[in-house]
């Protein structure tokens, strides 16, 4: 299978995950490009074991790249500021205020909760696929997802 056939169809998903993990458009683009480069480098290691279409495989690389990026940012003392721009295009919903609130609530989640919410609610991955992407057992995915939803509900009431 061609590298492009595995990576290009999942670029939106990759960008979405990176955007929520970095909370910043420019950083998300850098992370995805870097991840694509890594995917290219390790493409020989893609055997379709994490799903035939490579989505989980590529998203796992995106996630690891975002975590590395985050460590580097923190190491440099450059903790990225909460990005208002991320919320600027949320006004399309019937109730813009509620849309912003929900988005802020997702952004405010701790990283390990945020990623399972994005992978499940926005990208529709199965628990098994989320486990493949995050490297935590399916049981942990299940409990994290439940706690993440609880936090979102609490934040919205």
């Amino acid at each position: 299978m061609e590298f492009a056939a595995v990576v290009l169809p999942h670029l939106d998903a990759a960008y979405t995950l990176a955007r929520y993990l970095t909370r910043n458009d420019a950083d998300a683009q850098d992370v995805v490009q870097d991840a694509a480069l890594r995917a290219l480098k390790y493409f020989g290691g893609f055997r379709g074991t994490t799903g035939p279409d490579g989505r989980a495989w590529f998203l796992a690389i995106v996630r690891n790249t975002a975590y590395t990026w985050r460590h580097r940012q923190q190491g440099d003392g450059l903790v990225t500021q909460f990005n208002e721009e991320l919320h600027s295009d949320a006004g399309t919903a019937a109730d813009p205020a509620a849309a912003v609130d929900l988005r802020q609530a997702i952004d405010a989640l701790p990283l390990e909760f945020r990623e399972v919410i994005v992978l499940r609610e926005l990208e529709g991955l199965s628990y098994k696929e989320i486990s493949d992407v995050t490297g935590v057992p399916v049981g942990t995915v299940m409990s994290r997802l439940s706690r993440a939803r609880k936090r979102l509900q609490e934040a919205l009431t």
């Binding site: 061609e2 590298f3 492009a4 990576v7 290009l8 670029l11 939106d12 990759a14 960008y15 979405t16 955007r19 458009d25 683009q29 995805v32 490009q33 694509a36 480069l37 290219l40 493409f43 295009d89 949320a90 399309t92 919903a93 019937a94 109730d95 509620a98 849309a99 929900l102 988005r103 997702i106 499940r120 609610e121 926005l122 199965s126 628990y127 299940m142 409990s143 997802l145 439940s146 939803r149 609880k150 979102l152 509900q153 919205l156």
Partner: protein
């Protein structure tokens, strides 16, 4: 009463992630537990709120372009491996490329052809169309050049076709064909002869041989680190193929 310990199961139930036995067990519990039913309702409300209020994100076009441009590199490693081109070659190529650049303004065609060869050895620059099939490579030039360069495959003679790319020589886009010989690469640049046959020439620079010849139809340049004898043999193959195809 509430069943907080059931919450992950209830979420998994909504997500369709419970095995049949677990699902039946939970459903019989739900049948007489209004608390857990309310819990499910609140989760469904959250789910529809997310669907309604969180717009799907699209990767920006700039990112899409950047990732697409990596594609060309994706094809390279296999080719590089198959040709067993060592890293040292890249170093030689880089040195040669710098020398080529220092010549500056008054570049001759030979300079440009040589530079094109050295540049082609850098990762990702060898071919725009990678194929050993002449019937894939030849049509690839359609619409990119105002001529259709003759493309042959001499795999049977030990000079397999590897692909083609566009070059810019003498102020115009020209076709470049890449042939292989064991671990060596041969770049062939050709364009229609405009002022009759321009004569033949041989040059050696920095370990590369540059051959030039012309047929009634085409001006040819070939560059390689291949030994001169073999490069001449390759030139003969091309000339024979051209004259065999001549009455077109």
């Amino acid at each position: 009463m509430t069943h907080p310990n059931l919450e992950p199961q209830l979420d998994a139930y909504l997500d369709g992630e419970l095995a049949d036995a677990e699902r039946r067990e939970l459903e019989s519990h739900l049948a007489h537990c209004p608390e857990c039913t309310r819990f499910l309702d609140s989760r469904l409300a959250l789910r529809s709120a997310i669907k309604a209020r969180i717009p799907a994100l699209r990767a920006p076009d700039t990112l899409r372009r950047r990732v697409r441009s990596l594609q060309r590199r994706a094809r390279m490693p296999v080719l590089w491996r198959s040709l067993a081109v060592a890293a040292s070659l890249a170093v030689v190529a880089f040195g040669g490329w710098r020398l080529g650049r220092q010549r500056g303004g008054g570049e001759t065609i030979a300079d440009e052809v040589f530079t094109s060869h050295v540049r082609s050895l850098m990762p990702g620059h060898l071919t725009d169309v990678q194929s050993s099939d002449q019937h894939t490579v030849k049509p690839w030039f359609n619409g990119k050049l105002d001529y259709s360069p003759p493309v042959y495959d001499f795999a049977g003679r030990g000079y397999p076709l590897l692909g083609g790319r566009l070059e810019y020589v003498g102020g115009r886009p020209v076709g470049a064909l890449v042939y292989g010989r064991r671990q060596h690469l041969i770049n062939v640049l050709l364009w229609p002869s405009d002022r009759g046959a321009a004569g033949a020439a041989t040059e050696t620079r920095q370990g590369y041989h540059v051959l030039h010849w012309a047929t009634p139809d085409y001006t040819y340049w070939a560059v390689s680190d291949l030994g001169l004898a073999e490069l001449r043999e390759f030139e003969q193959l091309l000339q024979q193929a051209d004259s065999a195809a001549a009455p077109r």
